[in-house]
């Protein structure tokens, strides 16, 4: 197996090797399982179809955005403008849909726009060597201010029913969940088995070594950001089609949520390691925690403190695991 995705030296037994490669994913998965067991024991309704569907479907767009974010972080960069981009995408899609364009244009055009914008951002980062946080901080301002300048924050209502892709339920499961699972699997295979996927790890791990090995790091970074734009675009469409109203503003703190999901999922912020399965699991974990705290009757005033403690606990558990694995 390729060990590009591993964070620790490969152990002796296959089991240990597995643990080494997917340790953080396992920690997150176990946390989710524990949460379901405990909260389910307190209130059975937590385990109902409706609730599980709601947790997954309501937060799928975060998981999908986190896939692209993970790729960006693996390549050694970061994007703090993703929340603003998703707001812009949602507004574009809604505007097109109510202006009478066919729905497929309302779905596809904003995604193409997101790919183009982020490819531009990637090019700026790759060829001028400006740190990605600077460029994307700038983009955050430009997209957010630009969006309000253009729309004045007017809500988009009266969306056509066939536009609401996130509300469709093929085979009884919300389409957002299909997207989340499908895209995660595709992205995971892509990251592991394609040359481009491996190039992302190589560039994030050691850019000079990657160059020496014949890769073109600049092109890789542009490609990663374009892919990130694709995922952000899909996230934006799902975000837009979940409800009957589009707010035409930037969803508050979404970028922090997405970045947190990626890094808690085991993507090293230093680049070069991590998997998209981890980030999707982490996004699900956060969604579960958010729901679980309400089911457990945690005082609403202390909810965020508990959430913070849980994030901290996950992080520390991961650190402890890495130490022991070493």
């Amino acid at each position: 197996m390729s060990n590009a995705a591993t964070t620790v030296p490969i152990g002796r037994t296959p089991f240990r090797r597995f643990l080494g490669g997917y340790g953080q994913e396992i920690v997150v998965l176990l946390s989710i399982a524990a949460l379901f067991a405990v909260v389910g024991a307190v209130n059975q309704r937590f385990l109902s179809d409706n609730n599980i569907n709601a947790i997954f479907a309501g937060n799928a767009y975060i998981a999908i955005a986190a896939i692209g974010m993970s790729m960006v972080i693996v390549s050694g960069h970061i994007d703090v403008s993703v929340g603003s981009l998703i707001g812009v995408i949602a507004t574009m899609a809604g505007t097109l849909a109510v202006s009478g364009y066919p729905v497929w244009i309302a779905w596809v055009a904003p995604i193409l726009f997101a790919i183009a914008v982020n490819a531009g951002v990637g090019a700026l980062i790759a060829y001028t060597r400006i740190p990605s946080i600077v460029v994307t901080l700038g983009m955050l301002s430009i997209l957010k201010g630009g969006l309000i300048s253009v729309t004045a924050g007017a809500w988009i209502t009266n969306l056509p029913a066939e536009f609401m892709i996130a509300q469709m339920r093929p085979f009884g499961i919300p389409s957002a969940v299909w997207f989340m699972v499908g895209l995660t699997v595709i992205a995971a295979l892509f990251m592991r088995y394609t040359d481009f996927g491996r190039a992302i790890y190589a560039v994030g791990g050691n850019i000079e070594a990657a160059r020496a090995a014949g890769l073109n790091p600049e092109r890789t970074v542009v490609g990663v950001f374009a892919l990130h734009g694709f995922f952000a675009g899909i996230a934006g469409i799902l975000f837009a089609t979940q409800l009957q109203v589009i707010q035409s503003t930037v969803p508050p703190n979404l970028e922090l949520t997405v970045i947190t999901a990626s890094v808690i999922g085991g993507v090293s912020i230093l680049g070069g390691t991590g998997t998209v399965i981890g980030s999707t699991l982490a996004a699900i974990l956060f969604a579960c925690i958010g729901s679980a705290l309400i089911f457990l009757n945690v005082s609403a005033y202390w909810l965020r403190a508990v959430l913070g403690l849980m994030i901290l606990a996950t992080v520390l558990a991961d650190m402890a695991r890495r130490r022991r694995a070493r």
Binding site: V134, K144, S149, A305
Partner: protein, 314 residues
């Protein structure tokens, strides 16, 4: 690394700032008045104080996303210590500041003892400290502070806002520490190459611990001034502060990869942003337009610096 090279970005930024000031002064005759400029100094003090510590943090190659939450938590504690616990207000201020400092120390400990990357550690404490602020306050505001307390946020000393004196003093101290002392050199060394710094006998962990603790302290200080300026405490105070601070610091030329940056640069970066926000508003540009301009300026300034550097080097 010569001083000239270090100051390269700062020079560009200084020229840019002067240009901006001239343009803005021409756009509105209300802009370049002593009263307006001093008032702007008052408004940027909280961000400025935190940015000083953030410069050190980023120079070490780290980041602190929790400063806004520490500000909120300290503000809440100030009110709670005074009103609910019944401490005299000066004592409550000291106790709250102490808690802010401890919050910073907590960040430092998680980062150095547990080896958690700063971004992840402070993402977690961003949620935790804000959550503590909400939980402790039970969403209640504390109001009705005595008149003397408002001096810190609203008073003037020799015609200059009190907090501007404080900001000036601390900027000087921070500039001296980062530029001229062993501690400053250690800070750069940690950011440039942590392993090398460790091998050359620099106490990497202690340095980081001090810096994150200082960030907590300054966020706490900013909280006291903020409460004094707005005369009330709320648990959502300082939300989003971290992005404003980081924008100022990176615009000031501090490299997010560590090892490079100056307090002068940070000060210039903050002044440029504040001048743009204020000057554009005075010349009739709306808030959303101003946000766009700041984004463009941020990218353009760093781009200019990068191109300049490369031409020199290449």
């Amino acid at each position: 690394m010569t001083a000239a090279r270090l100051l390269r970005h700062e020079t560009i930024l200084a020229i840019l700032t002067v240009l901006a000031l001239i343009v803005l002064a021409n756009l509105s005759d209300k802009f370049f008045t002593a009263e307006n400029l001093l008032n702007q100094g008052r408004l940027m003090s909280e961000v400025g104080l935190v940015a000083l510590a953030m410069t050190f943090v980023i120079v070490t190659g780290g980041i602190d996303l929790s400063v806004g939450s520490i500000l909120g938590m300290t503000a809440i504690l100030l009110g709670v210590f005074w009103q609910n616990v019944g401490l005299p207000l000066p004592l409550a201020m000291v106790a709250a500041l102490l808690c802010g400092t401890l919050a910073g120390l907590g960040n430092g400990l998680i980062i150095t003892r547990f080896k958690v990357p700063p971004l992840i550690a402070t993402l977690a404490t961003l949620a935790l400290y804000r959550g503590l602020a909400e939980g402790i306050s039970q969403a209640r505001s504390v109001r009705g502070y005595p008149e003397w307390f408002f001096y810190f946020g609203q008073g003037e000393l020799l015609g200059v806002p009190f907090q501007l004196w404080l900001l000036g003093l601390l900027t000087t101290i921070a500039g001296v520490i980062l530029g001229l002392t062993t501690f400053g050199r250690a800070t750069y060394a940690v950011g440039a190459n942590e392993t090398a710094a460790r091998f050359s006998g620099i106490r990497v962990d202690a340095t980081k611990l001090w810096i994150y603790t200082a960030a907590g302290f300054l966020a706490g200080l900013a909280a006291v001034i903020f409460v004094s300026r707005v005369t009330t405490t709320r648990s959502d105070m300082g939300t989003g502060l971290e992005l404003d601070v980081i924008t100022g610091v990176v615009l000031g030329g501090t490299s997010i990869f560590g090892g490079k940056g100056t307090i002068v640069g940070t000060a210039l970066g903050l002044i440029l942003i504040q001048a743009l926000k204020n000057g554009l508003a005075l010349s009739g540009v709306k808030g959303d337009g101003t946000i766009v301009v700041i984004g463009v300026v941020l990218i353009a300034a760093i781009l200019a610096g990068a191109l300049f550097d490369r031409n020199r080097g290449g």
